[in-house]
Symmetry: C2
Subunit: 337 residues, 2 copies
Amino acid sequence: MARVTIEKVAERAGVSVATVSRALRGLPNVSPKTRDRVVSVAAMLNYRPDPNAARLAAGRTRTVAVGVVAIPIWYTGQVVSGIEAVLTNQGYDLTLLLIADDFARSRALGDVGGGVSKRADGAIIVDLVPTAPERSLLAEQRVPWVMVGADCPTIDSVVIDNVEGAASAARHLLDLGHRSIGLIAGGPAAFPSSGPPQRRAGFLRALDNAGVRFDPAMERVGDFSALGGYEAMQSLLGRRPRPTAIFAMSDEMAMGAMRACHEAGLDVPGDVSIVGFDDVDWAFTVGLTTVRQDATELGAIAARLMIERLEGIACERRLITVPTQLVERSSTAPPVG
Amino acid sequence: MARVTIEKVAERAGVSVATVSRALRGLPNVSPKTRDRVVSVAAMLNYRPDPNAARLAAGRTRTVAVGVVAIPIWYTGQVVSGIEAVLTNQGYDLTLLLIADDFARSRALGDVGGGVSKRADGAIIVDLVPTAPERSLLAEQRVPWVMVGADCPTIDSVVIDNVEGAASAARHLLDLGHRSIGLIAGGPAAFPSSGPPQRRAGFLRALDNAGVRFDPAMERVGDFSALGGYEAMQSLLGRRPRPTAIFAMSDEMAMGAMRACHEAGLDVPGDVSIVGFDDVDWAFTVGLTTVRQDATELGAIAARLMIERLEGIACERRLITVPTQLVERSSTAPPVG
DNA sequence: GTGAAAGCGCTAACAC
DNA sequence: GTGTTAGCGCTTTCAC
């Protein structure tokens, strides 16, 4: 297992290291015979170029950094999975950055620790909205950025239409005849993201369009977890009159809300209708009506945008919007009475 | 934003590059005054060492590769999250490898593409059982390996006691009085892992210890997904007499099984008791009795073992077993009749 | 089409 | 304590 370097390959193939480098990377200006010989010698010697040396010499890392706020969330896992598939397929490495606190945040977005720019050719940031100062830091680092889940001005972004997604959930409830609809919003995550306010806006607008007044007392904030949704719902159920329907900004919160209803002796959808958001893999097991988003696709698109930037294909800033879709199951029904 | 190198810092601080390198890395043999001066000059110049140059020169990457079979799974997300926290905290980068097929597998475990050894100082592999030939490949690469979820001979491993975990689930069901217990096993995932056979063994042994015969016709295989559990349960419900209780090897499968029961007009736990495995965050919303495992902790321990190896602290091979715990909720009850 | 040589920016002996 | 000097293993002009 002695280190086999490019030099040894060159020696054995009877050519220079430069030729080996060209041949192995498929560059032009190498005669077919030479290339074949080099390739077979390299294979025989089991030669593997050292990525670090290549990086240092070429100034490119063939690595993309991916910054996420929380990995053990269905949504994030899907996005990362989508990114990874595309990246790996194109021969890029993926460095994972978990952005859990302010320090990690500035490490990812700013330049603490060398910033992303020296350890990756570009960065994909999931669900984080850069502040203005952060945006100028990003611009300073000479690498491309792609945002997932946040429409960031001047930066390539891939998002879902949160406004329309939430509105479709609200319209569904309104169409069923609900007029007293509660909202379990998301927040405060580690950092504010744009999903919750947009979903809130879409929800409110749909109610408004239908001439239905939204009672601010009908809103609670969960933390995108089942427990958060559960507690939010308990609180909401304390109100009189209680809502006949609930829109929760995530399926996990919706499931927590369902639980709270059951514990209170209320039937879903008999007494309370519930709509979630995401369509997680197990949503069907509780018959949850929800707004589906294709998180894997979100990640895949982001990775493709990144690669286009890295290969110098793209030029102007792009904003890609992936559609959502209402999935009707059995957690919603017309209100009684 | 011109590249500021160690040389510029040295120049401005009036010392040699070697001294800058030492000072900034906190090595001994630097006078306090010199160190201070260097540090402040570096800060002023906004100097960030280039990791690739450092890697090439030092032969260490300060990166550990993490190979997982599937990221958008609750368990995997938790593990990765636990690993990341520790690694980042210790100043290591984390390269994520998704092992989805044979090619990816040999890329991660073998030496395709330079193997892990040149791009990382070590690798943590989650839920994959290396074959004998793979093990020798691992040994050839001069980097430490840590396995999570698989007790791999000669390699540091951190696991849960699957046998006992499954046995505790079975005992719970037996204690309640169940004698006709179905099994929804896991597999075939992308690759065979050791969890399913161990859980199966623990389950069978508990039945055996209680003098209860297990009817092989009572076993179905899901794929660790809600849908897989759902279909497995539907099939199981076709049998007469049908089981009065079910042990599913994951919570998602358990939830799918619950769904199948409900669709068949059966009450849980009235007609069928169900036990899962994992204790996912939302398990409480459906009152699922389950075997809890602390996946985040699993990852954190693995990362710590890895760092000890990298810093040269550890010597002999370690096997860490993290306990599981039965969480009784409302999906289990004594059988009727 | 191929080779020679100059780095990429840092670390690690080794001298002093 | 500090400086000097080799490299680390590649890529990339620039000649030929």
